[in-house]
């Protein structure tokens, strides 16, 4: 999602007696990360901050927490959700939240106009404007006025 590469995170399950398996996992992880090379935290600082803020956001945490309930027991209307449907919604929310935070990070870096933000993070102008409107409502950013007829924003 953040261009960091999900290959940098590995998940594994093993039991206490599976020492051999631990070694195998450890070698696989080593190989995989080794091939990807060192991770440059400075280069990805903006993305990391945005990802962190996304994961901290209430919407995302709430949705992730509800997964088991929605899938197995149903929502407040008693409907059980399909796993695929849940994941699609989660992906959607994640992307949207992440993009919002990315925009906010860009503003913090000093890219205050829609075009400057686009140049920094590469999203479509229309989508950025749309999200900015949304972000204004939830007090993530504020409209600061016009500079040379271009609207500029500030992070809150």
């Amino acid at each position: 999602m953040a261009g960091i590469g999900k290959d940098r995170l590995h998940l594994a399950w093993l039991s206490s007696a599976e020492a051999q398996r631990f070694v195998e996992i450890s070698s696989q992880v080593m190989k995989s990360i080794g091939e990807q090379g060192p991770f440059d935290a400075n280069r990805f600082a903006m993305e990391l901050n945005a990802a962190e803020a996304t994961l901290n956001s209430e919407t995302v945490r709430w949705l992730v927490g509800k997964e088991v309930k929605l899938l197995n027991r149903g929502d407040v209307y008693g409907r059980k959700w399909e796993k695929a449907k849940f994941e699609a919604i989660l992906d959607n929310v994640l992307e949207r939240e992440y993009h919002k935070h990315l925009i906010r990070q860009a503003i913090i870096e000093g890219h205050t106009s829609v075009r400057a933000i686009r140049d920094r993070i590469g999203l479509e102008l229309k989508w950025i404007s749309y999200l900015l409107a949304d972000m204004e409502k939830t007090s993530m950013v504020e409209f600061k006025g016009h500079e040379h007829h271009v609207p500029v924003f500030g992070a809150l």
């Binding site: 007696a17 599976e18 020492a19 051999q20 398996r21 070694v23 901290n56 209430e58 945490r61 709430w62 992730v64 927490g65 509800k66 088991v68 309930k69």
Partner: protein
Amino acid sequence: MITLSKVTSITGEEGNFTVTVKKYPRYVDMDACIACGTCAEKCPAKVVDEFNEGLAKRKAIYVPYAQAVPLKYAIDRDNCIYFQKGRCRACEKFCPTKAIRFDDVETDITLQVGSVILTAGFTPFNPAKFDNYQHARFPNVVTSMEFERILSAGGPFAGHVKRLSDGVEPKKIAWLQCVGSRDMNRCDNPYCSSVCCMYAIKESVIAKEHLGKDFQPTIFYMDMRTHGKDFEKYYDRAREEGVRFIRSRVHTITEVDASGTLNLAYVSDTGKRVEEEFDMVVLSVGMEPAQSGIDAANILGIELNPYRFVKTADTSPVSTSRKGIYVAGSLQGCKDIPQSVVEASAAACQASVSLSSARGTLVRDKIFPAELHVAADTPRIGVFVCNCGINIGGIADVPAVAAYAKTLPHVAYVEEDLFACSQDTQEKMVDVIKKEKLNRIVVAACTPRTHEPLFQETIRNAGLNAYLFEMANIRNQCTWVHSQEKDKATAKAKDLVRMAISRASLLEPIPDLSVPVSKTALVIGGGIAGMTAALSLANQGFSATIVEKSGILGGAALDVLHTWKGEDVPSYLNDLIRDVSANSNITVLLNAEVIDASGFVGNFETKVRRNDSIQTILHGATIIATGGKAARVDEYGYGKNPRITRWHDLENNPEMLADANSVVFIQCVGSRDENRPYCSRICCTTSMMQAIAIREKSPDTSVFILYRDIRTFGERELLYKKARELGVVFIQYSLDKKPVVTETPDGLLVDVFDPVLQQPLQIQADLVNLATAIESAPNEDIAGFYKLPLNAEKFFMEAHAKLRPVDFASDGIFVCGLAHYPKPIDESIAQAMAAAGRAATVLSKTAISVSPLVSKVDTGKCIGCGLCAEVCPFGAIILEDADGKGYRAKNISASCKGCGLCAASCPQKAIEMLHFKDEQILAAVCAAGR
């Protein structure tokens, strides 16, 4: 714990035995040995490794396996070069702690005990003496125990399945069942070993996991006996996954060629002789009572049965012929792990009953000095870097690690130790902590999993809270696994120490957590299980309340006349009801129903409704014994014709047999099908007993038993044998060719396909008796009140199918009897005693200390969304109506296991895990990177 020992004599009686125990020399000082393994590395004597069933070698100085307890080496005198030839002593020379004691001698220890529990177990049947199995001659014929070791990741081949002849991966393996069981001709073990069918299926499924899709496992069997809880579903799944099951006994095994491939000859179910090649054969060997157990039984003077298992009665399944001596596990009869664990707790309970007046007289609590208040002080961290002899010091540069630690923030004191865990270092550590006024301690050594408790005790002796302690694992996870890269190991050790110090600086003292215990139990259900549990607790001095839905005590056992050993159930039941009713510690509530419950271990609150009045009962433990019942069925014309009965109709109305000349039993009615994919466990034995009774009383009555697999497990197999000898006719049927019962004016006609004759049969029957399934009581409400899981068939699901068969994941609640799974009376009684025994571990305490590493809700941040309560697997968080503020989450610390799911999922970050707070974990994470 005394290892390497045997009982040699016993005198005295229940409550006061004097036992002599002979302790054989270990030749290693247990206090000095640090299990570093140097001795075994240097030992020149290679010995056959019995733990790996002879498939690998070990040294003459050894630990049996890597996770052994105690993890201390021992010298095997018979194979030690020094003991046999007088020279060597290599281990002594290289031992870093001077732990070798060649002058160690046999000692006799005298113990004064109130009772004795014998659990010496079984020996796997040794097939070597029978040439038809070719175990001794062909390398690719192995026993199931050997195959377990082959499969094991810790075994001789590190979990790679291969043939012993040439190391090639097998493509086809055959399992041969009943080797050393159900066989009078060759091995004199007429009983069924009960466990082999299940382990053969398990081995075949796991082998398939190891060997992939193309691997073809085949199991040759007589009857598939998957009678345990959820076993049948496992059997079904194995068939779906491609395990082939053939009902036949292989009669000849030959080697095809020099590679060791084997040819098996058998007769197929259609009567044809078949030959087939396999790469390997696994002999599913049965169980025999261990010789050491038989010896011990003889010394203890207790009676054995004809098969040399310890003799017990169905109504007192763990009591031996000598008062005060109990038996549990496979020495009492063949059984699987959960049943052994049940009996273990049952025997503990029985011993406890007879000794309850002496409870607590020989154990005492350790007292620690008062804790200093250091929470607010600036951290002064003491770092102790252990060399562990040469285990750490020989690889990582310990002085460099120690010097590096000195440069880190908050570190006030650093020292290097040869062995941080040794007694003298521990004493020194206490002095140093006091002298240097240290308030956080880091030990860089082995693993916290084995040594954290020891060091925590040490710092408590110095007046510090146990949780102001952190370990850096620089041995198990560093020097031991990076011994070839000394520089990198040193670098990693520094990182790990830095992480530990960084975390330690943020650690906070956590007070001990304990909850008071209400010393009374609530037993739900007044059948044999419930009554036995209540009585077992009452006889130990605890009070118990039985809540029974119906108007009488007795439950499902009211329909039963005899146990499988022939003991009289009605008179036993009468005695039990009388004892329960007369016991002043027991309150019986009939026509009563649980309508709500709350609370946690030690402090449950249950609402009971009885005759329109509601009372609240406070109790420390809960025993679920809600029972089960015979299923109602509409199959085979039941209910339409009075001559078609269920088994207990027949049991209670023997006059129905008076004029019957031909009786047909149909097994598995409502069991092992789509609706109830489980075996009801007791029906084969019940039909066997009823059939025997009929033939014994009127030898002219024809008796037919139509079955799918006969499941007379354990010594019940002898009933099957007796029924056959008495001329009962057994006809096997399969699920797709079920028998058909039709009414005719002359009586009943039963059509069935006979697989031996390969043709349909028609039997004229005067009476058709259906062996109907046992199903669970409606358990949903109770499960909901106490937040307990049910399996798909609505039986209660225990905490662990093998190791915790009477517990639930939630503490203080236990299950027994038919509420858990269909079972015979002896097993219900054992499980009820076990539940009482487990409940006694709670009730015997005035307060229970629970791990204080629990979650803590910040009610200021909490918004009452309930996600935490949702995700908690232990019901340890509830929503509570905080006055005027709406709902807020509330911790029930006594139930919390500290997993942290709630903290990770709280959208408000309002939950912290004590000792694993976000900032404490992050401190370590951040320190890892630099």
